[in-house]
């Protein structure tokens, strides 16, 4: 069994500095009054001996681990690392570590265990379906949680998402205003609030424009590149195919573009395609995707901020914010300025 011994403890520091262990602890925590001269002396010894407090002992006393959990449903979905990147930056800025669970392959047992063992101070849930043993467990134990890109009606906890419905509505309006009339939707699983809200926004826009959405212009599937790709092929190869396909998110749109390419159908000449999220890859030439950008950095910042507040102050009210989105017009739709909206 490999263990590497801790060389020093606060008693050693106390002895060297000629104070009591309690005083060393007070200097470290910075919460109590210590005479400036004493503080300097202790700090000097800490520095000299290169002392680090034992994190486990601290955690046991304070019941705080300095670690935040992040629950992710499909880590290889390209939007996930972008979210993790921003979360990691924010957490680091707050001096917290980030432990990650990927539930689509690992399952949720690890998360539930961590919650029950109290080894995390808070938990971030990223977009995923509603049914979640981990979420139920978190709510039951009362551990502070925050959801990013996932909305649950009536939930008494922090929730940060973009204006999915309004953004999708804007997207529909743009397509209609640009002359599209046979607009199709390809979407993912609707138990994800983001996707459901976006679909609602699109449908609303189509309905208000008097266009509507025939069944043959609608398709959905659970997450799998090949499935979306296949749906796109079937969609485009039917009689009187759509002249635009609005997708629930960028990753779905990527698969759709792949399907259309396989079917030999030109974009945007024969059909337009739009995504939603505005992830980095959407700007690559091979996609050049018109999409609706959500401010992931701001959302991550708010998520972490609220979580930290809940941890430091249990009275803090849960927050719920919707972030604005930005239409980015690229090559998968006609490249013309949007003056008529």
């Amino acid at each position: 069994m490999h263990t590497y011994s801790q060389k020093l403890n606060s008693n050693d520091i106390a002895r060297h500095a000629g104070v009591s262990q309690a005083t060393v602890s007070r200097v470290l925590s910075g919460n109590s009054n210590v005479r400036e001269e004493t503080r300097q002396r202790v700090l000097a010894v800490i520095e000299e001996l290169n002392y680090q407090p034992n994190a486990f002992a601290q955690a046991m006393k304070t019941r705080l681990s300095g670690t935040i959990g992040v629950v992710v449903s499909r880590i290889t979905n390209p939007i996930v690392p972008e979210v993790l990147l921003h979360l990691a930056d924010e957490l680091t800025a707050h001096g917290k570590r980030m432990v990650v669970w990927n539930t689509d392959t690992e399952g949720e047992a690890g998360v539930v265990n961590a919650i029950r063992q109290r080894v995390i101070d808070g938990l971030v849930f990223t977009a995923a379906g509603q049914q979640s043993a981990a979420m139920a467990s978190a709510l039951q134990t009362g551990i502070p949680i925050a959801c990013i890109n996932r909305h649950i009606e009536g939930g008494e906890f922090n929730q940060f998402a973009c204006s999915n419905l309004e953004g999708a509505r804007t997207m529909a309006d743009y397509l209609v205003a640009s002359g599209r009339r046979r607009i199709a939707i390809i979407n993912g699983p609707l138990d994800r609030s983001t996707l459901a809200d976006r679909e609602a926004g699109l449908r609303q826009g189509l309905q208000d424009a008097g266009i509507g959405l025939p069944d043959k212009y609608y398709a959905a599937s659970d997450f799998a590149h090949d499935k979306f790709r296949q749906l796109a092929i079937e969609m485009i190869e039917q009689p009187s195919p759509p002249d635009a396909i609005a997708c629930g998110n960028d990753v779905i749109a990527f698969a759709v573009l792949c399907g259309l390419r396989a079917a030999g159908v030109g974009v945007p000449d024969e059909v337009w395609v739009t995504g939603f999220d505005g992830i980095e890859m959407s700007g690559w030439d091979v996609f050049n995707l018109t999409t609706m950008r959500q401010p992931l950095d701001a959302m991550a910042s708010a998520t972490v901020g609220a979580l930290i507040d809940n941890i430091e102050n249990s009275e803090a009210e849960p927050r719920m914010v919707r972030f604005g989105t930005e239409l980015i017009i690229r090559g998968t739709t006609a490249n013309m300025p949007l003056t008529q909206l």
Copy 2:
């Protein structure tokens, strides 16, 4: 300050079961002899009261946290989540949690801190440059480490990578055997051993074929999609452009394909393109990239296995394994079977 109290401790269990706390601990750890009847009684009480041992107290005693750190250089690089996925699965299978650091934006301070605080039992380094304060700190403290996709000569620690040189050599042979004669290389930073080894393999193949590599057919840059894209454009727009571009990895190849598309150059009609890694996206229709697949799952499995061994048995020798690669021929090169190799 939010804290949620631990309801029960092992003393409560002991009292309810009519045994001592030591016996409860023995039942939990499973290392000592306990009479079967006693064990069942204790387990029943644990079950009944829904007791969970306090992880911090355990960690303080055993000096083991049940957490493994993973250091990543650019988490949004699509190969990284694939690595993390496999690592997470393996770690979960071993009952370990995974904490992730993304050093390109966070820096390494968090990792170094975690090492000094002993809050992780082991550390995985994924491909990155050689200079690393975290690696130095890890080696100094003696915490078990393992490197995946990163090789350091003479290092006394676990290292798992694929046969980068041989794989690249095979790739060069394939291009030459297929009739390519003006073969270019676009690569990333050479302080990454994977990229350096692959370049060496390619150069070796070209040299043995008597083709060589003129300066004008070589370009490199640090990691940034736009830079690789630009390099590809400049490469292809020069007089007597290459008839093939071999890239250091798939992500570079994606950028190259984007550049070629922007330049209006047909692939594979006017120029072939190859990658290396075989990440999932390389199979998407928009890339359809010929590449060299490395067995990430096996590599991750070996990485975690070795790390766990080092943690459980400090005498365990560091391991160093090279994994074989597999040429995957797709649409960015002529779609013909490779019989002549």
